[in-house]
Amino acid sequence: MTELAIRAQKLDKWFGKVHAVRSLDLEVPRSRIYGFLGPNGSGKTTAIRMLCGLLTPSGGDIDVLGYPIPEEAEALRLKVGYMTQKFSLFGDLTVDENLQFMADIYTLDRKLKAQRIGLVIERYGLGKLVKQRAGTLSGGQKQRLALAASTLHDPELLFLDEPTSAVDPENRRSFWEALFDLVAEGTTILVSTHYMDEAERCHALAILDEGTLVAEGSPEELQQGIDASIVLVESDQPRRVGKMLEQQPFVHSSAQVGNVLRVMVASDLESPEKAVAEAITNQGLHLDYSRVAKPALEDVFVAATRAKKGKA
C-alpha cells in the first residue's frame, strides 16, 4: 500500500484556448486533510474533477489510491466519495429516500445498508429530517446530507469541492469537526476552499492561482516561509496612507482591516516598521504607530499570487 493517496504529475487541462490547470504536481498523503486554496476560477474544481476521473486531462499522469486515472476511473468510484460544489442530491426525494438511493447505487447489501444509513443519520444529526424533502432543507442541513451520502459507502478518499460555501460559521465549525472524525478513521480528504479560516484547518495546502500551483506546505510552514514582512499601521487617514504606501517601491500591497492597515513589504528590509513609518511621515501624514506582525495565511496567499505575477 502506498503512503500517498493521490499523486499527480505535470497535470494540464485546456478548455479550448483557456489553460485551466497548468503543469500541476501534487502529492497527497493518506489520512490527512489536504486543501486546495485559491480564488474562483483558479482551477480548483477542474483539478478535483480530473483527479476523480470526471474530466480527461489534456496532459500529465494521475494515480489515485493506486489506480491510473482516467483509465481506471470506474474501479476507483467504489473507493471515493465526491461532494459537489452545488447540492446535487434529489430535491424532490426525502432525506431517507436519497440515502436509500445512494446506498443501492453503491450496492451495499441489505444489512450493511441499514447499518450505514443508521450511522450517518446519527453522526450528521439527520434523525429529525429523514421524512423531509431534501429540497426544503437549510444550507447547513443540505451540506450534512451531502456529506452523509458521500460517506455512506465508507470511502477511502473523499473529494469535497467548496463544501461550506452556503453554510453559516457555526455549521461550518461542526462540519470540520466531522471531517476530522473521518480522518481519525483513516479517510483521506481533499477539500477546496476560498476561505482562509478553513484553509488553516488543513494538514497541508496547495495554493492555486490561474491554474498554477504557487505555494505548497502546511499552514505553519507557509506562514514561516513567506517571502515578505507584514507591518501594521494605524493612522487617522488610513485611505490616504494606504494609497500613498502602495506607490512605494518596497511595498507589495496594503489592505485595510478596520482602522488598521496591513502592509506587506519586501523581506530584505532591515527594519520594515521604520521604513514604513518614514515613508508616511516624509509625506507629512499622521502616524499613530507601525509595528511588525506575524504573517497570516491570507498574507501567504497574497504574496504567492503576487510573486507569480511578478515573474510573468
Binding site: 474533477r49 470506474e74 452545488k86 424532490d92 443501492d104 447505487i105 453503491y106
Partner: protein, 365 residues
C-alpha cells in the same frame, strides 16, 4: 446482481420523482384525452397514386379499357396483376395495396345487363381518404356504360373493406395512439437526463458506480408502463366514445405498442444526450413530432405524398407503427403478416439505444 440493484435503485427514484411531479403526471392522462377528443373529426384530402392490384378474369378489350381509364385518373397506380379475388384480399390485409379491382370472367356480358354491376372495386376502408378517392373512381367507369338515363345500376359495385360505414374516428383512433405515444414518450425521456444535468444531479450520478447502460435502461423502464397506461386509456375511450372496432387480437395490439413505446423512449434518450437544456430538448422533440404527425400517414395517406416526403416518413418510427396498428386493429392482420414493419421498429430500438449509450459519457468533457 449488483447491476440489478443499481437499476432498481434508479427506477424506484424515477417513479418517486414522477409521482411528485404533478405536471408530468397530468400530462400522462391529459394529453391522450384531449387529443382523442380533438382528432375525433377527420380531414379529407384528394389523393393520388394509391397502390392497386388488378384481378382481370375476363381479359377482354373492354376490361382492359376500364382498367386503363381508371389508371389515367392517376388516383390509382396499378402495381400488381393477380388471378383471384382472394389474392386481392390478401394483399390488402398485408397493407400492400389500398385498392383492388376485380373484373369477373363474364364482365362483357354483365356490361350489357343494365340491372347488374359489371365489376368490383375493393377498397381499404381503414383510411377514409382512400375511400373518398375510390368513390371518384366509380364515377370514371360509369361512362363506359352507354345509357341515356342515370338511373341504371352502376357498372362497378363498390365494396369497402374494414370500415364500411366510413366513420373517421375508426381510422383516427389507432393512429392517434401512435401520435400520443410519440408526443409523450419522446418528450418525457428527452427531458429526463437533461433535467438532471441542469439540476446538478448528473455530476453526482456519474461519480457513482452506476454504469451507462444501467442508467439508460432504468430511465426508460417507468415510462414503458406509463405508455401502456396511455394506450389502454385511448383504447377504452375509443371504444366507449367512438365504437372503434378491434378486428385483430388485443395481445397483438399491445405487443406492437410496446415495441413502439420502447423505440420512442430510445429516441427521447438519444435527444437528451444531444442537448444541454430542457428547452432544447423540447425543441428537438417537436422537430421529430411534427413530421411524424404530418408524414407518417396519420393525417394524409402515405401513397399521396411526393417521393422525398415518403423517404423521410420511412425514417420515422410512427410511420411503421401506423401501418402496424391499422393492420391489426382495423384489418385484423396477424403479426406474421406484418412482421416486416415490426422488424423495422425493433431495428430502430437497437440503433437508437446504441447511439444514446455511446453518446452519453460518464465524463463532464
Amino acid at each position: 446482481m449488483k447491476s440489478v440493484q443499481r437499476i432498481l435503485a434508479v427506477v424506484r427514484k424515477e417513479v418517486r420523482q414522477l409521482r411528485r411531479d404533478r405536471l408530468t403526471f397530468g400530462m400522462i392522462v391529459g394529453i391522450p384525452v384531449i387529443q382523442l377528443l380533438m382528432f375525433g373529426y377527420a380531414i379529407n384530402m384528394d389523393v393520388r397514386n394509391l397502390d392497386a392490384a388488378v384481378a382481370d378474369l375476363s381479359s377482354t378489350s373492354a376490361s382492359r379499357q376500364v382498367v386503363m381509364d381508371m389508371a389515367h385518373t392517376q388516383i390509382i397506380n396499378v402495381i400488381r396483376q393477380v388471378d383471384s379475388a382472394d389474392e386481392l384480399e390478401h394483399l390488402m390485409r398485408q397493407g400492400r395495396i389500398s385498392v383492388g379491382i376485380y373484373i369477373p370472367p363474364d364482365f362483357d356480358r354483365r356490361l350489357q345487363q343494365a340491372d347488374r354491376s359489371a365489376m368490383q372495386l375493393l377498397v381499404d376502408g381503414s383510411d377514409t381518404v382512400v375511400q373518398g378517392a375510390a368513390a371518384q373512381l366509380a364515377q370514371v367507369t360509369q361512362q363506359s356504360r352507354t345509357s341515356p338515363y342515370n338511373d341504371r345500376p352502376p357498372v362497378m359495385e363498390l365494396r369497402t373493406y374494414y370500415n364500411p360505414e366510413r366513420r373517421s374516428p375508426v381510422n383516427t383512433v389507432p393512429g392517434l395512439i401512435g401520435v400520443i405515444l410519440t408526443m409523450t414518450m419522446i418528450l418525457f425521456t428527452a427531458v429526463a437526463i437533461v433535467r438532471e444535468r441542469e439540476r446538478g444531479n448528473l455530476e453526482l450520478l456519474i461519480t457513482t458506480p452506476v454504469r451507462t447502460p444501467e442508467l439508460m435502461l432504468a430511465k426508460i423502464t417507468p415510462y414503458v408502463f406509463i405508455g401502456l397506461i396511455q394506450v389502454s386509456l385511448v383504447l377504452l375511450l375509443g371504444q366507449f366514445l367512438f365504437k372503434v372496432p378491434m378486428a385483430g387480437s388485443l395481445l397483438d395490439t399491445y405487443i406492437i405498442t410496446l415495441v413502439f413505446i420502447v423505440a420512442n423512449l430510445a429516441l427521447g434518450l438519444l435527444i437528451s444526450t444531444l442537448v444541454h437544456t430542457q428547452f432544447q430538448a423540447m425543441q428537438l422533440s417537436f422537430f421529430v413530432l411534427l413530421p411524424s404527425i404530418l408524414l407518417s400517414g396519420f393525417m394524409f395517406p402515405f401513397a399521396g405524398m411526393p417521393r422525398p416526403a415518403q423517404i423521410i416518413a420511412e425514417a420515422l418510427p410512427l410511420t411503421h407503427f401506423i401501418r402496424l396498428i391499422r393492420g391489426v386493429m382495423l384489418r385484423g392482420a396477424s403479426l406474421q403478416e406484418l412482421s416486416g414493419e415490426l422488424l423495422i421498429l425493433c431495428g430502430f430500438i437497437v440503433a437508437l439505444m446504441a447511439l444514446a449509450i455511446l453518446r452519453f459519457s460518464k465524463r463532464l468533457d
